[in-house]
Amino acid sequence: MSKHRELGLTDDEFELIQKKMRRDPNDVELAMFSLLWSEHCAYKHSKKLLANLPTEGPRVVMGPGENAGAVDIGSGYSIAFKVESHNHPSAVEPFQGAATGVGGILRDVIALGARPIAILDSLRFGELDTERTRYLVDGVVGGIGHYGNSMGIPTVGGEIYFEPPYEQNCLVNAMCVGIARTDEMVRAAATGPGNKVVLFGAKTGRDGIGGASVLASAELEEGDASKRPTVQIGDPFEESKVLECCQELLASDLLVSLQDLGAAGLTSSAGEMASAGGTGIDIDVGLVPLREADMEPFEIMVSESQERMLAVVEPSLVDEVLAICTKWQTDSAVIGEVTDSGDFRILRNGETVGEIPVDHLVDGCPLYDLSPEEPAEWIYGNRVTLREGADASEITLSLLSAASIASKRWAYEQYDTLVGSRTVHRAGAADAAVLNIPESDRAIAISIDGNGRRVACSPHTGTIEATLECAANLACVGAEPLGVTNCLNFGNPEKPTVAWQLSQSVAGLAEACNGLGLPVVGGNVSLYNETPSGPIYPTPVIGMVGELPDIEHCAGQPWQDGDWVALVGPFNPSLAGSELEKARGMLGNGLPDIEIEPVRAAIELVRDGVRSGKLRTVSDVSDGGIVTQLSEMALGSGIGCDVSLDPVIVQHNCSPEDALFGEGPGGFIVAGDRQSIELLGGQGVQIELLGRVTGNEIRIAAGDSLVDILVAEARAAFESLPRRIEA
């Protein structure tokens, strides 16, 4: 096979490179092109779609194109955040794949000049009944904990879903949130010809060669264990030193710009810095501190060794920069210079070994139109896991023990959720994580969400739902959303069905963000999540950051004996795409249409209720419907409930089963004294009193159906994950 194909470039792309270069690229140049023109770096199948997303807003400090997005939270501070995938590395080597996924997203936020203050994770695996899934879950959770805990950054939230289409191709999306003084934030642009380029952090080795192209931009296949050498090894201790070093360099105002080294290593970082600065750049690989002395120039340029940063520094400040690196016991070296040539020149000990115009390399990759085609039928198959004829109580216990719904305590207790002294709501305690931000006398809330199964049923509606779900989660702690980040995990975009899923999903994201008035400030696209058995569920993972005025009013309290329970919002339950339909093996295409405006009104009502202190106990209805939500709230306090869903049946003219287990956006369960709940009304948002908090049973009537289980039974089902993972 010809070399360019081995490196993942098509014949047409190779010809285009020859045409632009007016000659054949040499090995160094070809290796560099193959990475920066990979899907992972060039977004060649998604860039045109992403142009439709709203990106502007009064609070946006940094938007797409920077290392991470950032929003203003007042008093001179900004919150930087981004979510990124590390799917294929984790599928090949779960512990290191997940660990370096966390390490990579932390560096994106560090590169902006921010100090990371929180990590969240969105994980997708196959069903727990296979050994492979249990191996992946154990490795991925262990890897996330290893990196985040060792760095001293709390992991404050996340979500895990278990669905068959992720069995071979698990998803590991990590989100990092950081805080920075707005006037100290740095951009990743190499400016000022004559300025020096300093590489610091870990030494460069042969790990992760070709990770972005060979591993991240192709489908997974049999025998991918042989790709383990393309997975990097994480060293959180090194990163912890690099973090403190960056903080000191920035506080001392010594840097012109800063960039992390991630996918495609030096090639990508230096190339993108030069592109952003409209300059050229010279890099001498002979000056790069190496782990192995005999590395070839192309290896040094594409190595994805972790824990490295690239800075542009004025010549007179170089000594001071190197001294601070030495203080933090991390390697550093001047490896090049910013030029006005517009070329990315690679030298080895002064001799040129490659030279590419920056704009060809960074922006020259052709962008492709998709050829979307809606599939005629459900392409993902079905499995029956629920006994036919099961009554409402049995269904409830079955749903509470469903891996995607059951408590994830096993996972989050392996994460340090507290370090940094900001965590107000710990993992599992509320719908969204809440972090105290005394710097600007307020708090922030963070949520991450994306139910791939529902997106598979309807990519457009499912993506709107995921975005609304994040906003609803924030409302439950009294927070107003400020900005969105996202990670679009899809199959092979060259296939018409996946192309349709992707374009529908991005359109849904744009519609939801426009509807909520929210800017998308950054994101990541992960394509080719596909194996010979088919694509994953289309999985847009939405990350949202919001603010709340004070931590005194952020709800999250368990309900109390005697409280009234009510349903708030335009929630119109439907079994389409639900957990129950999955368990019955009846999944198919289509979800009910959504009107965003009434959901938005309900979200605002709940947010105001929490902020005013009227609402102390509130949670939004999501997977498994009202019954699951009520059960989880009962488990949170240890007290049961006695409620009737007949008002829901009457309101929406739906079946008892729809009311009990139906899903959809726009529903909140609130609990409290009757007057406070009734006072919430009057803004055109529906409020239905359902019953009271009482006793040790969960009793939920709906028409002629009745759920009647002990809180203790519900707990046994809900806490069943550890023994199944460790089976």
Partner: protein, 225 residues
């Protein structure tokens, strides 16, 4: 009270510990600060905290490298002169490695990192850090570590029990790591050095659900005053 909080490469909870010192000491106007691991001059400091984290990545054995830091020599002198020294989590491991406290911390029984709120029972031990706590009192403090299983050889264990050097035990159902005799923290013979695996510095703000940790930080000031 002027606290010095050590900072090694890889420390994680040093700012949290400093925050706890400042909160505990709001009225006296003490000047607490971080102490870089290469510093050897501790003059002006009234108490030392060896904080949690993963010093030097804990790649060899938790605390095994940090004990050789220049600052630790100064801490040993400070401790031997009777100065109050508190080791939290990784700091406890460092103090055991350096011989300032008896015993060792092994990997948790379940081989995993565990983060959970835990009950600690205060014992009869004598230490400035316990002066604001009553024997038998239960306090709620977060536990978060991977290597917190307290171990000592039988004779040593017998000796520290006989000497009342056990400062805290895990409450029933809260010994998450398999520590011998439910030991969560110990003191040296003199009582001025105390190490514990749980994190009192993460129980100082009401919003975290417990402020029990403040009592440890207030203890030495109460004694001095």
């Amino acid at each position: 009270m002027n606290w010095g909080v050590l900072q090694f490469p890889g420390s994680c909870d040093e700012r949290d510990a400093l925050h706890a010192c400042e909160l505990a000491d709001q009225s006296s106007g003490g000047q607490s600060r971080l102490v870089w691991h290469e510093e050897t001059d501790l003059s002006g400091l009234d108490g030392i905290i060896v904080p949690g984290g993963f010093s030097y990545g804990d790649y060899l054995r938790a605390g095994a490298i940090a004990r050789f830091a220049p600052a630790m020599t100064a801490v040993a002198d400070f401790a031997n002169a009777g100065g109050p020294v508190l080791g939290i989590c990784n700091g406890f491991q460092v103090l055991c490695e350096s011989g300032l406290l008896p015993g060792a911390l092994l990997t948790n029984e379940e081989m995993r990192f565990i983060c959970r709120q835990g009950d600690l029972i205060v014992t009869e031990a004598e230490s400035p850090f316990l002066s604001e706590l009553e024997p038998g009192e239960t306090i709620s403090i977060p536990i978060k570590h991977q290597s917190g299983r307290y171990f000592a050889p039988p004779e040593m264990l017998e000796r520290i029990e006989a000497n009342n050097q056990v400062a805290f035990r895990y409450g029933e159902g809260h010994n998450v790591n398999g520590s011998l005799n439910d030991i969560a923290g110990v003191t040296n013979e003199a009582g001025n050095v105390l190490g514990l695996m749980p994190h009192p510095e993460h129980a100082v703000d009401a919003f975290t659900g417990s402020t029990d940790g403040l009592k440890l930080f207030r203890g030495p000031a109460g004694i001095n005053a």
